[in-house]
Amino acid sequence: MRRMKHSLRAHLALGTLLACVMASADTGTRLVLFDDLASTPQALGIEEQRYLAFGGAILDYYSDRSFAALSRLRVNQAHGLFDDSTEYAELLQGELFLDYGLPEQAGVIFERLLRKDILARTRAEAWLHKADLHYRQGDYQAATDILTAAPIQALRPEQQPHRQLLLANALIHQGEFNRAADELATVPLDSVPGAYASYNMGVAMVRAGQPAHGLTRLEHVAALPSGDPEINALKDRAALAIGLTELRQGRADQARAALLRVRADGPYSSDALMALGLANYRRGAVRSALPLWLELIRRDPVHGAVQEAMLLAPRAYEELGALPQALAGYQVAAEQFRAVLHDLEATARRIRQPGWLHTLNDQTAALASQDPMAWLVRQGAAQGDDLVYLHQLFAERQFAEQYRQYQQLVRLSELLRQHQQSIPVLQATLAERQQRLARVAPRIHEQVAALRQQQQQLADATAALAQSIPQHLDINATHDLAELPHAIMWQRVTGWLDSTQPSAAQRQRLERLRGRLLWEIAHRGPANRERQQRDGAALIIDADIAGLRLAALEQLLNDAHVALQSDLGTRLTHLAEQIEAQRTQTEAIINELGERLQLAGLQLLARQRQTLGEHLAEAHLSIARLQDSAARAQQTRGRQ
């Protein structure tokens, strides 16, 4: 059930996202997906922040961390990212409120959305959520009205099956089977939601006195091709319902045919064996019924069908005239009933113990996610020895829902405990930071100011240098044009020629050297000038980066100043008090809910004890009856 809901939700959320993307600007704020990649950093505007924040919420949502998704949306609401104008976030938040069990808050959001001038598809989705809300609250007429009204028809095609299923279920609850059947006509029956809806309708029709139509509907489900475990279990359940209905109608052969389709290793096989035996028994084939019941009595005696079989098998022996076997059968049944009664007593003692409900939790599911809204244990997923007696409770809607609430509250309590642990850490971090900042901030402030001055001078100097590099090549400015080694050599050679008195030969050699040097400088001049310009530009960038780093330091200093002045400490203390109060409240509600669940468990055990007591009495009476008749027969034979 959860999975089918999840896949529908997946379509809905993705649909919402797409609808919002496609929304025109004049219908409210739209989510921008930024498909065009920019090669340089862009300004972090509100749309970019919304895109990243909503993407985070979507990740949590699809990762079965719905509480984290809801909390993230609300945090970003506080940041001013999401508001009434971001319909995509509103829709998701409304749905999450609904799942979290806060229907009023969800209703407020949907109402707000519906009052706005928004895209028809977004409006239709809001109507769909609102109908879902009415359905969950049991207001099936209101849900039907919405689901059949014109505005909701604007849903995207992939969302229509969800609408149809919801409408069909609402109609089934109102007994309007023909209309429900019309809605289901186009929903694929082999989908898990479609199969569930069809099964529910079949059972509801049988109960409403329309067995023929109900059986047809159930037959469709039972005839589905084998699929995943959920579909297979539903097929078994449908076949069993057909068998039992046919039996009630007195059509034993049809019942038998249906019951034979229930898998021998499935969860409904014991019930099917029992009913199959009854079908045979009803058509007078006691010999055919007996082996089925004998097979059944080898199974776990805690199951109701097995207990019934323990009494029916000896009765069949009786009818076949096998009185010793019948007597032995009743005696075995009495022993087994006593053993089960003993077990029931032990289970009742365990249920009364504190912490019993924790033992039912599926540890694997608990390890997978601790999110308070993550997949919680429901019928079939709970664990523990006591469940063999309590599975009936988990099949009851109210108990299952209360148990789900209980688990959610336990997780919320755990969340509060973790928050409580984090408060002292945050307080210590704050204190340590404030002390350190108070110590070093004045010194760093002075150093940053000095560095800022240096950086400014450096920036000015680099700019001036870059500007001073001439664009043209002037061989008269040899020292500017030459590379450093050549410039040094040029200076020396020129110096020697000007200041010393070389001999004619030396002068000639020096002049030749100067000539070669000049040629070299002129030859390399263009490349050297380019490099000088590049270096000048690089120096400007370096000076800018130094400025950027100084700005970052100044920002950090500003943050430090804010941190020193802030009232974070007081707010943390206030939060700690709130957490403590909420933990106390949560524990009180957990205890109260736990007591209710405990009481329901004990009441069920009491009912089972009473049934077992009746079975035991019947077994003993049958033993006495058989022994009396055997004694009478012996006496009669003695007299003869």
């Binding site: 950093p41 949502y61 359905y135 569930y196 039992l244 509250l409 945050l426 509600i589």
Partner: protein, 171 residues
Amino acid sequence: MKIRHLLLAMLVTVGCVPAAVAQDTGLSQRIQALKEQVLDLDRDLTLLEEELLYPSSQASFFLSVDVGTPIRLVDIKLTLNGEHIGYHFYSEHEFEALTKGGIQLLHTGNVRSGRNELEVSMTGYDPRGQDYQRTVSHIFNKGPGRKHIELRVVDDLDAMQHRFDFREWDQ
């Protein structure tokens, strides 16, 4: 007579699959009120944490993938200036969430200002089920304000592998 009762009892057991729950007792209302309080508290604590732990010059690295990609991401390793800052292994469930439009915050923290080098290594399976590893690096400048970098894992269906695109935003 007993057998008729038995049939009735079994029919009741088979019953309808629970679909909706409509209960509104005093306890339910208290639970609702408490849930709302916890939600408010969770929000307030997150805001305080952000205020305390992340100064206004933080840098955040995000990851997203192409919606509906046929390629499977297995894990990702993040290195900033030669220092390992994050690793994540994707469960099937998580990767599915990414392919449905989710964006993952890989790392948030203080990054030194100026030039930085981000290196990302990832392993994955291509549409043929063959595994591969890729490493890319990205140079960015960090200024005084917030820096957000999104790493987009894009399908390169010609090479049957992933391709990385980086997007930067400065505040």
